[in-house]
């Protein structure tokens, strides 16, 4: 499986529900026996990737780039119809997915939902739960044996390769090479994203593209201006940054430099050039936390914490707390994903001006960001008759309608006059009910390449596009992204968790660097070296 996603999915979810995963393994055994091992390793090059057929006739205000910088738009283009046929003829397509919004209005009271299904020509039944519940819901759905037609793969699964082999459709004959031309909206997704959809030399997934990197968080430009810094690129090195953090902190005025959940380590990783998951060093693999850069980063952040530049207790914050403190000006720099800019932008004021944080090199050199947001997650299709697969792909093609199309407008903003109104600048402005109507998780089943667009806010579009333009060129991938390691899939997250926990304790001042080194050695002996061996074997293949 692909890199960015597989790695990130493991790190974030293993702790959530290993019980479910264990049970899943039992169930999957009924899928049939399969020779397990690193024989399943593959590289994206092994598969016949879909041909990229770029969209014609759409000129963005800010151009995208081949390495993944998304195009930017200041207003919504004149909508065009991207799907001329009706994909279904009364059939029902089932799906399991997740969502990150409040619960949408029901189908009967949701004009957008009704219109989408009218345009689809059939019913799209989506079982969706939140991220925290997905593991349980997905495990039980798979265990029940009645698999839906489309399945978001956003969890861990023992013998995932076996599941793909026995239960999921190899999409290579349907989408590989020129075959994708039958689905123009899917064909408009650049190859960069399809590379993440390969497993065991076959194209098993549909991509849900994101903007390559999640960025390095945000800073409040007003707070930095107060201490004479207008651009984070002006920060020369880690020492200068340390001084700046000191200037930004004034506990007597309830003002702090930093405050993010789990100390918001991502920007520091970028500053210290910690590799993304693994580094290839002379043919050998080194895990990110085994590098000197990682240890130096932890020591540095521990020093920052000790100096009192973090809001005390902020490492346990919930998102709302972090947002409130940042918007209220109590913190100056936070870590949140770059697409989260939309959360902060509406609160801009005389004292608050959110801007993407572009990292500097700790030693005065260049920083390095991570390609940690290439896909949201991939989507698997249940094995079926060719006609059924084509039907599902036609639905996916509809859901992947590109920015600028009528279908995109419908899926993201709903029905005009009910869910949104077009303003004078040709921007869809949501009505009160708009957000609840379009909260149906269509976009977590298939999606186009993203565009940077903040309706009616050219400045925000420029800010985020500028952020991506600065961050993506310095981004590095996970070198083992498309290589399958059974041990990593089964217990990679469980093995890494004690290391992350110890790192947090070290920063909090409750443990020492020696404890961290011990935790890393334990990781290696308990299975880390096995994972390394499997990946190295895959790299050599």
């Amino acid at each position: 499986m692909s890199a960015a996603i597989s790695a990130s999915a493991l790190s974030r979810r293993n702790f959530l529900g290993l019980a479910g995963a264990g049970a899943l393994a039992v169930t999957l055994a009924s899928c049939g026996t399969r020779s397990e091992g690193t024989g399943q390793v593959s590289n994206a090059e092994d598969a016949l990737l879909p041909k990229h057929v770029p969209l014609q006739g759409l000129t963005p205000d800010l151009p995208g780039t081949a390495d993944g910088v998304p195009p930017g738009f200041f207003s919504y283009p004149e909508p065009f119809r991207s799907v001329s046929d009706v994909p279904l003829t009364g059939e029902t397509i089932s799906a399991i997915s997740m969502f990150f919004a409040t619960v949408p209005n029901g189908r009967a009271d949701n004009p957008a939902w009704q219109e989408v299904e009218k345009r689809l020509g059939g019913t799209l039944d989506i079982n969706a739960v939140s991220d925290a519940d997905y593991e349980s819901r997905f495990s039980t759905t798979v265990a029940g044996g009645d698999l839906p037609d489309m399945m978001l793969y956003a969890t861990t699964m023992q013998d995932h390769a076996g599941f793909l082999d026995k239960a999921c459709e190899d999409l290579t004959p349907h989408l590989g090479g020129d075959a994708i031309e039958a689905y123009p909206n899917l064909a408009a997704i650049p190859e960069l994203f399809w590379e993440q959809c390969v497993m065991a030399g076959k194209l098993y997934y549909l991509p849900i593209p994101r903007a390559v990197t999640g960025g390095s968080g945000f800073f409040n430009a007003k707070r930095l201006e107060e201490v004479g810094v207008t651009d984070t690129a002006e920060i020369a090195d880690a020492d200068t940054f340390f001084d700046l953090l000191g200037e930004l902190t004034d506990p007597s005025r309830n003002r702090w430099a930093l405050g993010s959940t789990s100390f918001g380590l991502t920007p520091f990783r970028h500053v210290f050039r910690v590799p993304y998951e693994w580094r290839v060093d002379g043919g050998k693999l080194v895990k990110d936390f085994e590098t000197d850069e990682y240890l130096a980063m932890i020591e540095y952040v521990a020093g920052v914490r000790e100096a009192g530049y973090f809001v005390p207790g902020s490492e346990a914050w919930e998102k709302n707390q972090m947002v409130n403190k940042f918007v209220g000006g109590q913190t100056a720099i936070i870590y949140d994903g770059l697409p989260g800019y939309a959360t902060y932008a509406p609160s801009a004021s005389d004292t608050f001006a959110p801007a993407p944080f572009v990292p500097f090199g700790h030693d005065g050199g260049a920083a390095q960001t991570h390609q940690d947001n290439v896909l949201f997650s991939p989507v698997m299709l249940k094995k079926g008759e060719p006609e059924q697969i084509e039907r599902v792909l036609r639905v996916a093609n509809f859901l992947a309608a590109p920015f600028g199309s009528e279908e995109y407008l419908l899926l993201n903003y709903g029905v005009e006059g009910v869910d949104y109104d077009m303003d004078a600048g040709n921007n869809p402005i949501p009505t009160d009910r708009g957000l609840s109507d379009v909260a149906v998780p269509w976009k977590y089943l298939a999606a186009p390449q993203q565009a940077v667009y903040f309706p009616g806010h050219e400045d925000q579009t420029r800010a985020v596009h500028g952020g991506y333009s600065a961050l993506i060129p310095i981004s590095v991938p996970n070198p083992v992204a498309s290589i399958y390691s059974p041990t990593n899939t089964d217990k990679g997250g469980t093995l890494s968790q004690p290391v992350s926990d110890t790192a947090q304790e070290v920063i909090a001042g409750r443990k020492t660097m020696k404890d961290l080194e011990k935790a890393i050695a334990t990781w290696a002996s308990k299975g880390g070296d096995t994972i390394r061996g499997e990946y190295e074997q895959g790299l050599a293949a």
Binding site: V103, G106, T266, D372
Partner: protein, 323 residues
């Protein structure tokens, strides 16, 4: 042995002779007198009052903060660092937003329906089974009792439960929220214990008069068991009201009860993972909206609870002292 105790209050009663009032001598505790016969001293009363105030404060403070925050504007919440104890300019905007779309109100009605029907079913079947198991010489009674008690200590697990529900064709039906949890072993033990404590003479008299088991249950046992039934109904009701996990597993989102909607709101405010993909997707609703949903979900239970509370102590003690 007879212990004579004086009413300590008489010590301070004014006597018939008008004497200059002397300060009351410090009451000494009679070691043979029970402690509750003593007049509490002023410091002890004050201390008790203080302790009760502190305990009440611990319970009321978070509830009040939730209510106050739900009535505050987002700007005020930010200004007050997320903790509002008195909204400067109260607004019902959060309530208008969650109640206008219909999602929360529909879920509220579904929750009320599930709770009422589920509680009725559960209480009915618990009473029937408890009555059967409370009668002496029931064939296999011990086996069935042990079978039920077994479920109190050992659970089948998520996937076996799901498979059973799926095989019974209950997926995406409200019955999936009720049938798998129809009888709670704990509640069954409480009700059975109560039934066993009823005087056997009543049963014998009824039998002599020709009453069968159903008549005995309906006309004698149930009227004598209002207290325990109220408590068990409360237990079942609260459990159905709060249950979300089965709804998450078995129901599509258009059938979700309020507890699941509430969970969705709360989860959106969870800590942001140190991961770009996850951090970026989560658009947390404002704190006022989260708190307003909490208040809406609390209201029905808060309304019902006082009517059942007087039965609460009796019922709980019944279950606790008789096994």
């Amino acid at each position: 042995m007879t212990i004579t105790t004086r009413d300590p209050r008489t010590e301070s009663a004014p006597g018939p002779v008008a004497e200059p009032r002397r300060p009351r001598p410090r009451a000494r505790r009679n070691s043979r007198r029970p402690v509750w016969d003593e007049e509490p001293s002023l410091p002890a009363t004050a201390l008790k009052g203080l302790a009760l105030t502190a305990i009440s404060f611990l319970a009321i403070y978070p509830m009040f903060a939730v209510l106050a925050t739900s009535l505050a504007s987002q700007e005020e919440i930010v200004e007050k660092n997320g903790l509002v104890l008195w909204p400067d300019s109260p607004t019902f905007a959060a309530y208008e937003q969650i109640l206008s779309g219909g999602v929360v109100t529909d879920a509220l009605l579904r929750s009320i329906g599930i709770t009422v029907i589920g509680t009725l079913c559960s209480v009915t079947f618990t009473v029937l089974m408890a009555y059967g198991l409370s009668r002496p010489r029931v064939v296999g009674g011990r086996f069935w009792l042990m079978s039920v008690l077994f479920t109190m200590f050992f659970s089948a697990g998520i996937i076996p439960n799901f498979l059973v529900v799926s095989e019974l064709g209950l997926l995406d039906s409200y019955a999936a929220l009720v049938l798998p949890v129809l009888i709670s072993a704990f509640n069954l033990v409480v009700v059975r214990s109560f039934f066993m404590g009823l005087p056997q003479e009543l049963f014998e008299a009824a039998r002599i008069d020709g009453a069968g088991d159903f008549r005995i249950l309906l006309t004698m046992v149930l009227p004598l068991s209002k207290g325990v039934l109220a408590v068990v109904s409360l237990f079942y009701g609260v459990a159905y009201w709060n249950a979300f996990f089965n709804a998450m597993l078995y129901l599509d989102m258009d059938k979700w009860p309020l507890s699941m909607i509430l969970r969705q709101y709360v989860l959106l405010g969870q800590p942001v993972a140190d991961n770009a993909a996850m951090a970026s997707e989560m658009a947390a609703p404002t704190q006022a909206i989260q708190m307003a949903v909490v208040v809406v979900s609390l209201v029905p239970i808060v309304v019902v609870y006082p009517f059942l509370q007087r039965y609460f102590t009796k019922g709980v003690i019944t279950g606790a002292v008789k096994g």
